[in-house]
């Protein structure tokens, strides 16, 4: 082990020196090459386009094409089953990536491609814990939060997960993602289960039943969404009074577009997005090159200055400042801002990756009214 770790810094140095050369070499030889990235659309994808895709194309000449992806392992499984997929990279939620890795749907990624921080800090110290995995490289911290339409509540404003389930004091439609993710955590949180015990309780039949019963209370008020930008739309066009959604999208709608949306940070669900390479792609090497490029501290910071998702590298977080276009300070909107962390729930990605089927069955049963 020792000789290897001793050699690592030398490898980094080599990487830094050779990397630009590799990129420009690629530029000449592999013109009109295209990488296909499955990602989440909307303002999030726009931020990726500006921070990663366009600079990558400028540096290498490789075009990035995107296809829409709404999370989960199923979509990837279906792509691979069709035999002929053109997906090269997927921007996956960490728990999905973990499950997909175990199913053998992903290529291994050489951690040696990651570049050290500008001050020389090696990646394994710079990235947050658990970010570097054989199948994925975690890049951002995002949060699923509850937000509400300010116009719907002129008087007392909702400010807790409990209020989301309280139709009496806070009437109006509730927009929820049509997926067995987050629902049950919030259901139990609203019953004042402490966050430390959420996944222990959700591991029991009783815990899931309890969540079902709590959700029954708002069943008739639910509007389902699937695409990340839909939840923002449902709030802005007044269809829903409260909605769950990704904090970055709500930030974008509020700060950039002036939508009357407020975020309730209580019970925010912290999750992580990771870059993965689809098993069997013929451009695995190029995909790794892209990951190395997209996880450079400067590029990660550039994305965080466009949308309020926290970068998974310390050196990148230090570079987060004002919004590139609007000049709004970005740090208070990050899920990891200290004032938001007091009641945050960090999603147990191990639990998620092992309970895919259980959650899907539970959700189906609940949708059918048990």
């Amino acid at each position: 082990m020792k000789p290897l770790s001793a050699r690592v810094p030398a490898l980094w140095m080599l990487g830094i020196l050779v990397f630009p050369g590799l990129l420009s070499a690629g530029n000449e030889e592999q013109a009109r090459e295209v990488l296909t990235v499955a990602t989440w659309g909307g303002s999030y994808e726009n931020s990726q386009r500006r921070a990663y895709f366009e600079p990558f194309t400028r540096a290498t000449g490789v075009e990035i094409e995107t296809v829409h992806y709404d999370g989960g392992v199923k979509a990837l499984r279906e792509q691979l089953a069709s035999g002929d997929t053109d997906w090269d990279l997927v921007d996956m939620i960490q728990s999905d990536a973990s499950a997909a890795c175990e199913e053998g749907l992903l290529e291994n990624i050489d951690p040696g491609i990651l570049l050290p921080a500008p001050d020389g800090t090696p990646p394994h110290e710079d990235f947050m814990e658990g970010a570097i995995h054989r199948c994925f490289i975690t890049q951002i911290v995002f949060s699923t939060v509850i937000a509400f339409d300010d116009r719907a509540f002129p008087g007392v404003k909702p400010d807790s997960v409990e209020d989301f389930f309280n139709l009496e004091d806070f009437p109006g439609k509730r927009a929820l993602r049509k997926s067995p993710v987050g629902l049950f955590e919030w259901a139990l949180l609203s019953l004042s289960v402490p966050r430390e015990q959420l996944y222990d309780l959700l591991s029991t039949r009783r815990g899931l039943e309890l969540a079902s019963r709590q959700l029954n209370g708002i069943r008739d008020a639910i509007i389902w969404w699937t695409r990340g930008d839909e939840s923002v739309e449902l709030l802005t066009n007044g269809e829903a009074a409260m909605a769950t959604g990704y904090n970055g999208r709500f930030f974008h709608a509020r700060a950039m577009e002036g939508a009357p949306i407020s975020v309730i940070w209580d019970g925010q669900l912290i999750g992580f997005n990771s870059w993965t390479i689809v098993r069997g792609t013929d451009q695995a090497e190029l995909a790794e090159k892209f990951i190395a490029f997209a996880t450079r501290s400067e590029n990660m910071a550039a994305q965080a200055n466009l949308i309020s998702y926290g970068p998974a590298r310390k050196s990148a977080f230090k570079r987060v400042g004002l919004h590139t276009d609007a000049g709004v300070p970005m740090r208070p909107y990050m899920p990891t801002a200290p004032s938001h962390m007091a009641t945050a729930v960090v999603r147990d990605h191990h639990w998620y990756s092992q309970t895919v089927e259980l959650r899907e069955q539970w959700f189906k049963a609940w949708l059918q009214g048990e």
Binding site: L191, S192, V193, P194, E196, Q197, Y199, D200, L201, L202, S203, T204, R206, G207, L210, R213, H350, W351, Q354, T355, E357, L358
Partner: protein, 576 residues
Amino acid sequence: MERKGIAQTVYQIIAVTLVAIVVGGAASLAAIGFVEAVHFLNERLLISPYARVLAEDRPMLVASATLLVPAAGGLVVGLVVHFLVREKRGLAPPDAILAAQTSAPAPGLLSGLASTFAALVSLGSGASVGQYGPLVYLGAMFGNMVGRLRLNLRYQRSIAIACGVAAAISTAFNAPIAGLVFAHEVILRHYSLRAFAPVTVAAATGYIIANVIFDRPALFLVSFDRVEHSYEFVFFALEGVLCAGLAWVFMRLLRLSTNTARRYIGLPWARPAIAGLLLGLVALWIPEVLGIGQETLRFATIEGAFGIGELGLIIVAKLVLTALCVGFGFVGGVFSPALLIGILFGAFYGMVLPYIAPVPHSGLVVYAICGMMALASSVIGAPLTTILIVFELTRSYDLTIAAMVSVVFANLISYRVIGRSLFDLQLRARGFDLSLGRDKAILGNRRIRDYLSTEYTAASEMDTVGDVRQRLVNDNRAEAMVLDHQGILLGVIRLQGIVNRPAGTPAMAAAIGLFTRFEEATSVWQSMELLRGFLGEAVPLVSAEGKLLGVVPEEAVIRAYLEIVHDLREEENEAA
């Protein structure tokens, strides 16, 4: 002189503080290690719901683990206890009490470690037993080890044991004040400043290690605003009374299960395995009975988590299976199961109450907590400790006062019906009866043999009255012991009985056959009882075969009593 006195005081304070910190730190770290190890085993052996749900896709694996893990664990426990623990049973708080109260030798280190290992396997494999009993013993074990060092401190052993116990409880519950009070209330049974100061230091050490260094999560977290209606305190009191009844049922079941195991299963080491198998069978149907039941504990405070019938079923199952596991020899305590059964019963009571007394009340949480503490305090005989645990864990005054009412009523009843606690019942079965206070228990534990004198006048069955009379005059005594050639005591001759007899009469004719005698096992307390109405000089003490070992003068019995009581008063009243 003055200077020497100061130096001695400084030495005492430093040494006592160091003892407290060392014992407290060791007990606390061991407690954390123990709890972590149980957690690890529960995960690996598919006992915890979290581990079971992760193996959802292999239902056969989960089912066979449910069935086999407790049985296999039971087998290991049975073998370890039978072959490695000298006492042939799990060591528990009663052993700690005994070690702190008497100077009798405590169980050895090997026994202690083997018993702790057996407790770890019991809890790890999902047996329905508690973790606090083994933790208390572990703390006492460290205390006992330090207690044996030659530090020249007074009451060193009992104080060091109390320190270990206080730190273990303080760590396990994250409740230093409860740990401090537990050590006094259950282990020491007095509140002298000499013990109070080091035990406080140990409890604080445990708290610092648990909370500041390791940041342990709390046992339970509930939110409760306040008791809405004053009449509810009547309900709390009634709940306490019902919990005392439940405690009585629990103790009866425990005795029944212990006796059943002894009567029907000849191989002692096979008993836990059989209990484990039965537990596994029930767990296939009601998984809540496995292990400590952290999740079930939490659900009990959530409105709507259980139906009434379901709750009743789980209470009965947990009650019976805990009695089964403990009675059949799994190593573990009864406190955590009592907490769980109590909280479930409290929730049950809170759910049934609206049907019986249809008036508004303040929700499930307060009734659940009251039931939990009332039952647990009756079982372990520690009302103050349990009240403080509620206070330290919830920091809610209202909840604490409600629980206090339940706890007090439960203890009022259970003290009279059952006795102070399960520990005291177990100790009484071993001949150490604390029910009439420490004085009696210790007087009953100390043997009068220690005050034996071999200064007596002997006579043989061949002697004549004249011989004996002369010998008594020579020895300046009024009593002679008549022995046969093997030394067996045949009778006692008193001077007043032979003064007027002819000298040639055989001595045996003048001997009194019915006289007060002590045996080897006679305690100081019994000797005092036996001396009632005694007129002679000294009481003969005989072996089981009837051989005379010596005599105990009346004065020695009084001396024994005074010495012991003086020691106790001194221990209880001395300042640090």
